[in-house]
Assembly symmetry: C2
Homo-oligomer: 338 residues x 2
């Protein structure tokens, strides 16, 4: 059976999850990994992930070192940060060889918002070499963009879109619990958010992607984030939070057009959130009111989105692609052919 | 502003709704209509639909007559029946000229199921002339295929898919109320369903499309339909149903693979159904449990799906296309450019 050769760039918790899932797919062959951590370089992916199916594939300190050792793959699975600029720079050696990149980088959901010059430059590079870039995930990537956009496929008229997401962060990985400020002093968290060093990344990019799909010109994006403060002690595998400390975030983002609110995102992500769910309300004709009971479980689904996008991305036209430019998302059966 | 020229083939209730919606879209220009009803031929679309924006465009008895009078459009909006074979035959004059067709024909959701030879023949024809065919709608077309498939984009594993749809048929058009057997003797309705002359069309095609997207080989499709019988008198705009007569249908369809049930559709469509909704349960990892409160309103949304697919279909590769082969569905803003 023909397989798609991939490598894993970034071997943090999400990268390891991506590796484990890739190892379970008959249509994928993982030929190596890249990480800057000297403690990981040289190790086998099988050892790092506990998946013997990954055989002798190893970790290299850079894409160039990997390419020199095992040659170029068909695609890079990229899970190494939220910044579009940093991610573009990391991807460059692959793109210059015409190797495509599927990423979980939040800002790459709509890179033209904050880094329009880079988005154009890398789009041109991709078109020249035949490579493709796309970013995916659950949020950003699915709950607040792909799913509501897909729903509007049956809309005659869309006046506004509201998406609400409540995540029980107790079930999530340590870096996420840290990022939402678990156990921190609420005032410290507010200062960190104001400095752009805390909170959920990618909200404004999600607004921009949704607005572009709806043909709306957004002239103002408003974002806010408040800590959710513990009223009693909350303990997780990673944190012990006293009353008065932060449990997580309540982050909102609104996109306005001519003073009219067209898009509202409301995200509550905190330890022990009692009723996790995702909900979408589309005002228009018809009215659409969707609830995902329990929500879409985070990290599990993020790496699934990353692996599932591979065949669709490789079939797309070269360039920097948005989720709205690829065919309908779908599970890619691990036992199917490439 | 550049416009996409379309014509409306079929001027029943759905065709008229399609016309009304098309007339409201700045990026569409409706240049004519086709219907076999001699009472409609020669009339203006503006008169038939009550939409003055449609100007002097008229109804012709055939595509050839329309092409001779006003030239070929970019695309045909086709709302003229459930049969794939009949629809293919109706489309042929357009396809031979390289004109694409967007259709609500239920069997065309997956034409290879019942008419594989025709599907191949028309795919070859389309590739030769540059035309595209795709069918869309709400059910089939969205609730039981596009939406669950889109959800599985975040799935690591999918074991089975269940879709439930409850429609309050009192809110729907007369032909639909008739098709589900409103006011009929339940025994008469059972006989009609057994003869393939009643019930919801396209269920088996929906199973086939979903199964193909999931990479499942379905070796058995089981379908059943029972009348929902009135216990007290129910009156709609079109029917007066006495106790003991039919109010509508409870239709089920299951797709099995190696004795294992992979797909189950459960559709209740009857007069005065008290709690209309659509629901999807995806067993796998993660578990996904979606509810569309109130459901997706029928005819309104069907013509929206038809109009919204136009730009995506015209950008697709020539051939007989499935919904899974087109970019993510999305509302196409009526005020946007073509």
């Amino acid at each position: 059976m023909k397989k798609i050769k991939v490598i894993q760039f970034g071997l943090g918790p999400i990268g390891i999850e991506s590796l484990k899932l890739a190892a379970d797919h008959a249509w994928l062959e993982v030929t190596g990994g890249v990480d800057i951590d000297p403690a990981k370089v040289g190790q086998t992916l099988a050892g790092l992930s506990g998946m013997p199916a990954l055989g002798g594939a190893r970790v290299y300190p850079s894409l160039d070192a990997l390419f020199a050792a095992v040659g170029g793959p068909d695609l890079v699975l990229h899970t190494a940060g939220s910044s579009a600029a940093a991610s573009f720079a990391q991807m460059r050696p692959a793109l210059e060889r015409g190797i495509s990149v599927a990423s979980t980088c939040e800002e790459l959901i709509f890179p033209a918002l904050k880094t329009p010059d880079l988005a154009r430059e890398f789009d041109t590079l991709c078109r020249r070499t035949g490579a493709r870039i796309a970013a995916t995930g659950v949020n950003p990537g699915f709950v607040m963009e792909v799913l509501p956009i897909c729903l509007t496929g049956v809309s005659r008229e869309v006046r506004s879109i509201y998406v609400e997401r409540v995540v029980n962060a107790s079930t999530r990985r340590q870096p996420l619990q840290a990022k939402i400020g678990s156990g921190q002093d609420p005032a410290d968290f507010r200062a960190k958010f104001a400095a752009g060093k805390a909170g959920h990344a990618g909200f404004q990019q999600s607004v921009a992607l949704l607005a572009q799909a709806m043909g709306w010109r957004i002239d103002e994006i408003r974002e806010s984030c408040e800590p959710v403060v513990a009223t009693s002690r909350v303990t997780t595998q990673f944190f012990d939070v006293a009353p008065g400390q932060s449990l997580g975030i309540h982050q909102k983002c609104a996109g306005l057009s001519g003073g009219e609110t067209k898009i509202v995102f409301d995200l509550q992500m905190y330890l022990d959130a009692p009723l996790p769910h995702d909900a979408i309300v589309i005002k228009g004709r018809p009215e659409l009111n969707l609830v995902l009971n329990g929500g879409v479980a985070g990290d599990d689904a993020t790496v699934a989105a990353l692996i599932n996008i591979v065949p669709r991305l490789l079939a797309a036209a070269p360039g920097v692609r948005l989720m709205t430019e690829l065919p309908l998302p779908a599970w890619k059966n691990p036992r199917s052919a490439a």
